[in-house]
Symmetry: C2
Subunit: 475 residues, 2 copies
């Protein structure tokens, strides 16, 4: 990879803006061209296109990716055609899934194969799911045996396994040589892999015996042997390990790279901090998106139909829960007819229950994810959350019932409102603690859809409690 050529994020922003302006200019020229084909416009177009190509060449693939993502469709394809084909692969690795899909759809199989040519097996594995099947098969044929095996094994892991994140850029050494020999061996490389903060020490069978951190190599005497200096019990992972746990280990121990071994202890690959950071970012992205009811990251400039599909599922679920809540209200239509203030006040009871339940369930789900909350803590947490719900419910219930009294001058109605608020918040607290803990006990993901579930309970529950109490005590 080339050394960076930029001084700071600011001047980078300027460059990106210039490229965007050039693309817009070119796009305008292309559109105009169809109307009046004169030679002056043609020359201008050539010139802009040459300058644009040169500027794109100077940018890091990650920066080109950002530029492509922030352009509307036609301009994006225009710029994509100007990127030199040997850089296509690196850039495809950097763009978001949605944009990648769209760029690949624009390439024919020759272009795809050419782009794939410059990539390592682990990088190919990242791209493969988005490529047409026959292209992947052709691709396999162009690889040597070693690379093909690596690609196959990288493809065999699930997205949340360490195997899917690892690469194969490790430098291996034996433990019986001196550091002097190691240094000479390293000097024979033209360049070392990224994130190469340690060398991996293996025996003749490829079994990992330890790691030699580069910083130990630098400070130790050249006459010492690798065996004397290496760490023989490093943090290591199996390819089938859970990626979440591996990223937590990277964070806890501030790792830059770590060995990945197979079941027999043989060195298989390595995991590096850049893959870990990408994974952390993707996970937190997915969390935010799913909290808002989006299935996956959207290309912001994609078509209406693609967006509709992405948002469909959650709207459907939410409509079902809304329908249930609506039927609960339907049960009490007679009561509402008699005391129409109930209709105006009932969303308050449902709303505060939903908010307070979401606060509780978010705390518990996060505690489970970080390992702070175990099922054994259930009783204690329940007691605390019920305490919080009581305090909040009594206080806000009092405030709201006071306001209701000023509006409607109906004291019994205010008392029912306050009771319903307290009861619904207690319901929210109990469900907020129990739902995630029960899901963990039954081996489910506690986070998935937790917000939808708690909100639907506190909506229907809130309407039922408030309207039920009102029917019993007010009518």
């Amino acid at each position: 990879m080339p050394e960076m050529q930029r001084k700071s994020p600011e001047s980078l922003q300027d460059r990106l803006d210039q490229v965007l302006a050039l693309v817009r200019q070119l796009h305008a020229a292309e559109s105009a061209e169809q109307e009046d084909v004169d030679q002056v416009a043609d020359v201008l177009r050539e010139e802009v296109s040459r300058e644009l190509q040169q500027r794109l060449d100077e940018l890091h693939p990650a920066d080109v990716a950002v530029i492509l993502e922030s352009m509307p469709l036609e301009e994006r394809l225009l710029a994509w055609q100007l990127v030199r084909s040997e850089r296509d692969g690196d850039i495809l690795l950097e763009v978001s899934d949605a944009v990648r899909e769209m760029l690949i759809a624009d390439m024919d199989s020759h272009e795809i194969l050419a782009a794939a040519n410059n990539l390592d097996a682990d990088e190919l594995a990242d791209l493969a799911p988005d490529l047409p099947r026959d292209v992947v098969r052709e691709l396999m044929d162009t690889l040597d045996v070693n690379e093909r095996e690596r690609l196959k094994s990288a493809l065999s892991f699930a997205e949340d396994e360490v195997g899917a994140l690892m690469d194969f850029d490790m430098i291996t050494i034996r433990d019986d040589v001196t550091l002097e020999v190691v240094s000479r061996y390293l000097r024979r490389f033209d360049s070392l892999p990224d994130h190469n903060d340690k060398l991996f020490v293996i025996d003749a069978d490829g079994v990992l015996k330890g790691v030699l951190p580069i910083r130990k190599l630098l400070v130790s005497s050249p006459e010492m042997t690798v065996a004397e200096v290496m760490s023989d019990d490093p943090v290591l992972f199996r390819a089938s390990d859970d990626a979440d746990e591996a990223t937590q280990a990277f964070e806890r121990y501030d790792l830059i790279s770590a060995p990945v071994v197979d079941d027999d202890g043989r060195l298989f690959g390595r995991l590096t901090i850049d893959a870990v950071v990408d994974y952390i970012r993707e996970q937190s992205e997915a969390e935010v998106l799913s909290a808002a009811g989006l299935r996956e990251e959207e290309d912001i400039f994609s078509s209406v139909w693609k967006s509709v599909r992405n948002r469909w599922a959650w709207l459907a679920i939410n409509l079902c829960t809304a329908l249930v809540a609506s039927r609960v209200i339907g049960l009490f239509e007679g009561s509402i007819e008699q005391l129409v203030a109930l209709a105006a006040l009932m969303p308050i009871v449902a709303g505060i229950g939903g908010n307070s339940g979401n606060q509780t369930i978010t705390m518990i789900v996060r505690g489970i994810a970080t390992g702070q909350v175990q099922v054994a803590h259930g009783k204690r947490l329940l007691k605390k959350e019920i305490g919080v719900a009581l305090v909040n419910g009594l206080f806000w219930g009092f405030v709201l019932s006071l306001i209701a009294y000023l509006l409607y001058g109906n004291a019994p109605l205010s008392i029912v409102l306050m009771s319903a608020m307290v009861l619904n918040m207690l319901l929210a607290a109990m469900m907020g603690v129990c739902i995630p803990l029960l899901r963990v006990r039954f081996g489910r993901d506690p986070a998935l859809g937790s917000s939808v579930m708690i909100t639907s309970i506190t909506d229907s529950g809130g309407f039922f409690i408030f309207l039920g109490l009102a029917t019993i005590f007010l009518l």
Copy 2:
């Protein structure tokens, strides 16, 4: 920092569980002791406490932090007292803010000063906000001039500036020496700092001239000079740079460390990937928490009162918006009295608007954060989102109005329901695009409270549209 002594996350979990079990045993023994003070129990207690202490000693500070976070209050303090005081500082750096506050409250100023003794200036700066003021003053006095200056400058930066994340563990060299000399210089260190993937090249005034990546040092001929091998235009940051942009640069260019300079270009400190990862994690944490209406991370075992305070503000805001929605319904009490089905159906209109608005605003806010969306794209995005809202609104509106017809057998009511759903989703789409773009234009954070804002608009708007249409056309 000691080398890691563990094989994989699994065996670590076993160790953590063992420590937790020991603490529980000790806590039980202590509680029992008050009733019957016999010598057998005393001996047992001593033994457990010794084993526990030894096990805690063997664990990495980050692991001890996790253990402390996952214990209820009394057990946590019991374990904390058994941690050797020279490790207190490192562990305090690793625990969450809420737990740190609680542990420091348990220490007297002597213990705090002893713990601070082992920390660097940048680490002290992280702790300082949680320490009592007089202890910080005392601490300043114990530092040498150099360290004191560093602590002061580190404390002078805001949380979201690069200066608050940087450390001072950089190794500097001159550009006129050979790599041979650099290697010999490094060998004089007992150990090198963490994340030391490059050396910083400065002139006599301390101005940064370039960086020498360790991997270039390893592969280049020892006779070459630093000036020949170094990169003279590295990615660098100013201490006052925005931390978000710096973390994006770290992700884009897969950096491990980068120089931080002052306004005159003098080397000031360095930013490392571990600080960046912590920052990314904290930011995404804050995003999830604030989406659920929590002000900050909560110690899951904290008192009811602390939790109430943390959740107070958001409940208050949400109650205000619920009250507004309730008053909108209040305007139409006459209509509801005449056609009580309106009360049962109105939450559906409000709910789907809220969901669809949250989907839109989340997309736009994320696009702004990643730089893909600019204010100039407003019109195009608005057009697309209106398209999505129309498709979803017409489809789901049709489904729901069909269900409503089956329930109530009132065709005009169904038509009003469908129209209200479409209109509320259009409102949601427009607000979802315009609110974040307008906030950006006026220099505000587009994310802050975006979900609350859109939900309150679609709630009140949904009730108003549905009940208003019903009043005009049905009554």
